[in-house]
């Protein structure tokens, strides 16, 4: 395959602990891949291996077929936006943006022109002479982006680019970043622990856990067809329930949830699991509230959270199983005894996985 950027079996150990475990990933030119994972999953180390700050114990990094594994960060021509921006506090915005260009020998009017262009790209045209301390968090973020892009790097690396911003600013900045990156058309790897960020920014999302890539795919693929329970649990909201798979049925599969039999039509998660204990991950919208009728799982409503026009209700069975279910805000009062059934249009919101030997 002729991917633009290839991570080929990268392994990194720190004092015997494996931080990055055989990570391989092929990224097309101009593609934005978001590496998503909880803290300690090895995503930042992967980014540092890409940037060249760490040397992998095994594996290679290739750009357009060229092996850059041993190339120092200075000569790698990868731009990077750091988590805390790492802007040079003694220089103004313009000098920060000019730094990389000047390192590469750009001088004079050419330098000025390219600095102004980079600042304009991030919508900071009039801010060149501001000291870093005089800029807001969002502006600093954009200066960092302009600084990384100005020398026209081959690859752009973003390390938790939004984690330092106010939640109210994040959404806007996320849109701006996406727009700038797409306008420049640069191949980008972004690392984040925020699912929203990964899903909105990434053309593809790579979910990482314990140093390994669990699944790589478009947001739709990850949501609709998670490869395993971790991905299903990490991506989107879902409840985990231990169930018993009884037998395949005409329309799908029959399972038992706390003694109540449900027939699931549209079950994703790869092959249907063999009869026996299994782990069910179910999205709130894949369940519906009913009367306490036969075939419905009897539960008590114990909580409610508003999410726009609808709400997510927390329901608990007598056996202590907790499930979340989406319904119109005022569907039932707290404390009500109701039933739960799989929604008729579950639409891939229920996933069965082999019971993990915990």
């Amino acid at each position: 395959m002729s991917a633009f950027l290839r991570l080929d079996g990268l392994v990194k150990r720190f004092d015997g602990d494996v931080a990055v475990d055989r990570v391989s990933l092929a990224i097309e030119r101009g593609e934005l891949v978001a590496v998503l994972g909880p803290s300690g999953s090895g995503k930042t180390t992967t980014l540092r291996l890409l940037a060249g700050f760490e040397a992998p114990d095994e594996g290679r990094v290739l750009v357009e077929g060229e092996d850059v594994t041993g190339v120092a960060p200075v000569s790698r021509r990868f731009g990077m936006v750091f988590q805390h921006y790492a802007l040079f506090p003694h220089l103004d915005a313009r000098a920060n943006v000019a730094f990389g260009l000047a390192s590469n020998g750009v001088r004079g009017t050419d330098l000025d022109r390219r600095v102004e262009r980079a600042l304009a790209l991030v919508d900071l045209a009039g801010f060149g002479s501001r000291r870093i301390g005089q800029l807001s968090g969002g502006q600093q973020q954009r200066v960092a982006l302009a600084r990384a892009l100005a020398p026209e790097p081959r690859v752009l690396l973003l390390d938790e680019p939004l984690s330092n911003l106010d939640p109210t600013l994040r959404e806007r900045t996320r849109r701006e970043i996406r727009e700038v990156i797409h306008r420049v058309g640069i191949t980008t790897v972004l690392v984040t622990h925020e699912q929203d960020e990964a899903f909105e920014l990434g053309d593809r999302v790579a979910v990482m856990r314990a140093g390994r890539l669990e699944q790589v795919g478009t947001p739709d693929e990850l949501y609709g067809a998670p490869a395993n329970a971790f991905v299903a649990g990490f991506v989107g909201r879902s409840s985990e329930v231990e169930v018993e798979v009884l037998e395949p049925s005409a329309r799908g599969v029959r399972i038992a949830v706390a003694g109540v039999e449900w027939e699931l039509g549209d079950v994703s998660g790869g092959a249907l699991p063999a009869p026996g204990p299994a782990l069910m991950l179910v999205r709130p919208e894949a369940l519906r509230l009913t009367e306490t009728e036969p075939g419905a799982l009897p539960v008590t409503i114990v909580g409610r959270r508003f999410v726009g026009p609808s709400a997510i209700f927390t329901a608990r069975t007598d056996g202590g199983i907790v499930l979340e279910v989406a319904a119109p805000s005022h569907a039932v009062p707290a404390g009500a005894r109701v039933g739960l059934m799989p929604s008729r249009r579950a639409g891939g919101g229920i996933h069965l996985f082999p019971s993990s030997p915990k």
């Binding site: 700050f53 021509r77 731009g79 790492a86 730094f99 390192s103 590469n104």
Partner: protein, 552 residues
């Protein structure tokens, strides 16, 4: 990778240089104390233990140092509380004035005390006249005089450390204690005091070490009362070099014991770490009489603290031989200052101190910067050892290092790493350099640690090589730390007396020794003029270091 290799080579060279300059001379002292031309011997150790004068000097050093800590604490801690917690009339100015003893180099402070409280000092004569006594009311001599000078010059450590610690305590801590029903005393005892332990420990250690190494005050005021540093110098003057080595070792052992006792305290680290929340607002003093009383006490105190500085300035205008028994000098002149500039013999010590201190400071900054970058930035193996060696001279009194360097570099034996430097121009800058490594490197190391490592990485991703990153990013950002470290080093070297008195030559005689000889010739005006110059230069350099170096 190649840069890594270069860093390793640099680190190895630095390590070797530090071992040669810091460790090796001390080891030689230890060996020389245990040998004589006939081979290994415990004769001098036995001699040390048999002589009561030795014991008295060692004991004198210890109790003077402990008492200095107590006195300095008794003055400095209440002052710190007063200025950090209460909003006094003129509190800001006073709070600054209270730190003024710090700009007096040790010998200059002693000189000022002599003019003030000595037999013919202003205050002594004033008291004598007022009480119509036939003799001076006191003699500024012995342990009491030493303690007076120590208390005056060392309470500043307690004051500055405790004030900084108090200001860094989050206001919400007081509020939380109050909301939990703790009264003022309970809050102080159970909440505030524990927060101050590091500052108190740091100040106590610093005071103890400074008092233990103190030389100027015991040398001028000691009379028959000896502490170990003056005893060592006397023993060397008698020609008992090997006994002096044993004395040196005993002083070092006491210093190391003190470090061990206070091992939890890290002086100077109070500025490190992230500080959250706001400092508590100063409590305004509302009651009028109390305000008045505090103001009078505060300004009175400031006057007492400023008296030495003012005295020095006044005496520096006294012409030679005109001031004998009058309570206030009868005549004034600018001649003393003119002499300092015009008379080449008088100007020489100033120039000497200037170039010696400049050279030593430049070298100390370079060594400390290299050490700090290699250890804290490049995380080179052996970095910890480099840091330890840079800090080591702090644990060793100045007299000890002077003896050690004099021992190591008075023999020509290149194969053993020894060359003759004693008697040359180079021994003094070298001694100043070694003595200044700890303070310089502490300031610079703190600066390097505070730098975000990702700045280096950012520069690298932007294509900047190591040289460009150092020049354009690291050094500009370290400027405050470098200036702070350099100013501390320069001031110490410029006013140094303790190492100079043992290692100077006529050609390199520094200001401090010229002050001493002017004093011996009863030329108090010139001595004071030198003192004023030292004081002003110290103050100016401190101001530069503090202003450019931010609040540190």
């Amino acid at each position: 990778m190649r840069p890594r290799f270069l860093a390793r080579v640099l680190a190895a060279l630095l390590l070797a240089a530090l071992v040669w300059l810091v460790v090796y001379p001390l080891v030689l002292v230890l060996l020389e104390g245990l040998r004589d031309p006939g081979g290994w011997t415990l004769r001098y150790v036995r001699l040390f233990f048999e002589r009561p004068t030795e014991w008295r000097a060692l004991w004198g050093s210890i109790w003077i140092s402990v008492t200095s800590v107590v006195l300095a604490g008794l003055i400095g801690i209440p002052l710190a509380f007063l200025f950090a917690r209460y909003d006094l009339p003129g509190g800001r100015v006073l709070g600054g004035l209270v730190a003024l003893p710090a700009v007096l180099p040790p010998l200059v402070g002693v000189l000022a005390f002599l003019f003030l409280y000595g037999e013919t000092g202003f205050v002594s004569l004033l008291v004598q006249r007022l009480l119509r006594l036939s003799d001076p009311p006191w003699r500024l001599q012995g342990a009491g005089a030493i303690l007076l000078v120590h208390a005056y010059s060392m309470y500043v450590y307690f004051y500055l450390f405790v004030r900084a610690a108090l200001q860094s305590i989050d206001a919400s801590l007081y509020e939380a204690a109050a909301s939990l029903g703790a009264g003022r005393w309970r809050t102080l005892r159970r909440v505030i005091l524990p927060q101050l332990y590091p500052a108190l420990g740091g100040a106590a250690l610093l005071t103890f070490m400074t008092a233990l190494a103190s030389f100027s005050a015991p040398y001028i005021f000691g009379g028959g009362f000896r502490v170990m540093p003056t005893q060592i110098v006397a023993t060397r003057l008698n020609g008992d070099d090997r006994l002096a080595m044993v004395e040196t070792i005993s002083l070092t052992v006491v210093a190391l014991l003190a470090l061990w006792v206070f091992r939890g305290a890290r002086p100077g680290d109070s500025s490190g770490g992230g500080r959250k929340g706001a400092a508590p607002a100063r409590v305004p003093v509302r009651s009028r009489p109390l305000r008045l009383a505090l103001a009078v006490t505060g300004w009175g105190l400031a006057a007492v603290l400023l008296l030495p500085h003012l005295t020095l300035v006044l005496v520096s205008f006294v012409p030679l031989g005109t001031w004998t028994i009058e309570p206030v000098p009868p005549a004034y002149t600018l001649r003393n200052y003119v002499t300092l500039v015009q008379d080449p013999v008088r100007a020489r010590p100033l120039l000497n101190s200037l170039w010696l201190a400049t050279l030593a400071t430049g070298a100390a900054v370079a060594v400390a910067l290299a050490g700090a970058l290699l250890s804290a930035r490049r995380r080179i193996r052996g970095g910890r050892l480099i840091e330890a060696l840079l800090a080591l001279p702090w644990a060793v009194p100045g007299t000890v290092f002077a003896i050690a360097l004099a021992t190591a570099f008075s023999v020509h034996a290149p194969w053993a790493g020894r060359v003759i430097l004693v008697g040359t121009l180079w021994i003094l800058p070298l001694a100043y350099l070694v003595r200044n490594l700890p303070i310089t490197s502490r300031a610079i190391l703190a600066g390097v640690r505070a730098l975000d490592p990702s700045l280096d990485e950012a520069a690298a991703t932007l294509g900047a090589g190591r040289g460009r990153t150092l020049r354009r990013i690291t050094l500009p950002l370290l400027r405050p730390a470098l200036l702070a470290g350099a100013s501390l080093a320069f001031v110490t070297a410029f006013g140094d007396f303790v190492t100079s008195i043992m290692l100077y030559t006529y050609d390199t005689r520094p200001v401090s020794l010229e002050i001493l000889s002017s004093l011996r010739q009863s030329d108090v005006g010139v001595a004071a003029a030198y003192g004023v110059v030292l004081m002003l230069v110290s103050a100016a350099v401190f101001a530069i270091g503090a202003e450019r170096g931010g609040s540190g």
